[in-house]
Symmetry: C2
Subunit: 299 residues, 2 copies
Amino acid sequence: MSDVLIIGTVAFDTIETPFGKVEKALGGSATFASYAASFFSSPAVISVVGNDFPKDYVELLKKKDIDLEGLQVSGKTFHWDGSYEYDMNEAKTNKTELNSLENFKVKVPEKYKNIRNVFLANIDPEMQLETLKQVNRPDFVVLDTMNLWIKIKKKALIEVIKKTNVLLLNDGEARQLFDTVSLVKAANRALELGPKAVIIKKGEHGALLFTKNKHFSAPSYPLENIKDPTGCGDSFGGAFIGYLAKTKDLDEKNIRRAIIHGSVMASYNAEDFSLDRLKKLAMSDIENRYKEFQDIREF
Amino acid sequence: MSDVLIIGTVAFDTIETPFGKVEKALGGSATFASYAASFFSSPAVISVVGNDFPKDYVELLKKKDIDLEGLQVSGKTFHWDGSYEYDMNEAKTNKTELNSLENFKVKVPEKYKNIRNVFLANIDPEMQLETLKQVNRPDFVVLDTMNLWIKIKKKALIEVIKKTNVLLLNDGEARQLFDTVSLVKAANRALELGPKAVIIKKGEHGALLFTKNKHFSAPSYPLENIKDPTGCGDSFGGAFIGYLAKTKDLDEKNIRRAIIHGSVMASYNAEDFSLDRLKKLAMSDIENRYKEFQDIREF
């Protein structure tokens, strides 16, 4: 029985960074998120791919016991083509072919409807809303998004935020959404909308957690070689909710530990393209890097 | 007897930020650094001001027992005119009048020559080198600089770095000096030049410490209102060396604590223009914020 429901994209990623290039590699927010979550819990995915989606990719996810009953197949697979300059904090989109994503109608399989934890990974906020409509009221909802939705679907996005327990944003998105340079102010405005916690992901600068009266600053991991940051935010979110689903403890202190698990996963994810690093990852790697995170912030 | 020698600028700062404007306020790297250091130790300053330098400003420093025997008086005071946009990470220089700084000849007073800790605050690296030439070999040298010197006096700067125990840089400077986007690589190259430790200041993102085998990530303080970031790096450096001079412990663990004291001072400094916040600061304020830094980092 799955304990984390994840809606998001499953995609072909064509990516060029200063350290290499991949074509039609396995990508998408639900891919990275479910793979990362699978180290801690049993994810179930809602998404769509095309008839051109390789069996190998499906197998890779199934090997981690990710439930794909909610993965529809229709037309051609969503394809994102992007690149990064030396400063890898922001991706440049060269081309986006929505394909089957364009007419994707969310349909939550019956057996998913009672899953207690829901991760609304990055996808059209109307699809995120539709997912929440179809499930039986979950205990815990985590929401991720991107600058595109803030720009073109802000109203729907605000609606989803109101139904969310934890909001994930990167720093640029937080500033854009709440029209302020101050991340503290942005976080406070987000909290006013309903979420109990706001997590601001800052890439190489770590992550910040804001709750009503507390603040936590998670360090980043000092990676010497970053090959491809694609999917770091998604694997952060997946590991975050996976860890919370496993530990069943939503206390602020445990949310801090979940953030560090998210950071560990994101740091590994950046070390190679697609799932290439995560698919070689052992639980002991996660534990060792978690210990390193403890050490690098101790004073 | 002073225990921290500080060379740097003492200046008039004319500054505009989105939150206000000051004209010819007390500024300069040696000013912020010595004032911050004075909370922990007894600083002695080497710098130059003009005949137009107000007695009030001198009194402000003397009240903190800062030794000003090395403060020469000649011509007109160095004047920096700068402004910040909403993103206050970088200052825009509108005008720089070097005035008496232009022909400043470093002369270390006899009674300063045996001071064991030296902070080469931001000033022309040739003046920093000259200071080191005139003092008797100190135990501990900390160096700060800025992008201008990396651009126009890189050779002299590299010479000073070789004579330094701890190098302070902000992230942009680190990337510029070692021509890499990776802060880890930049830090490693800096360590190869001789310093035992490199501290990369990242403003609102905290600070990183790199030593041969260890890494420390200091959180930033989540300030809701930043009025003026001018002097934050200098007060960071001053509090850092002041704390180490007081505690007389150069172990990596104590360097971490010194970095947090630097961060505490920098966070207060940003809350108002010039020394306006620091001059109201009590030791208990420093201790309370230090505890907050511990809390925002715990997991």
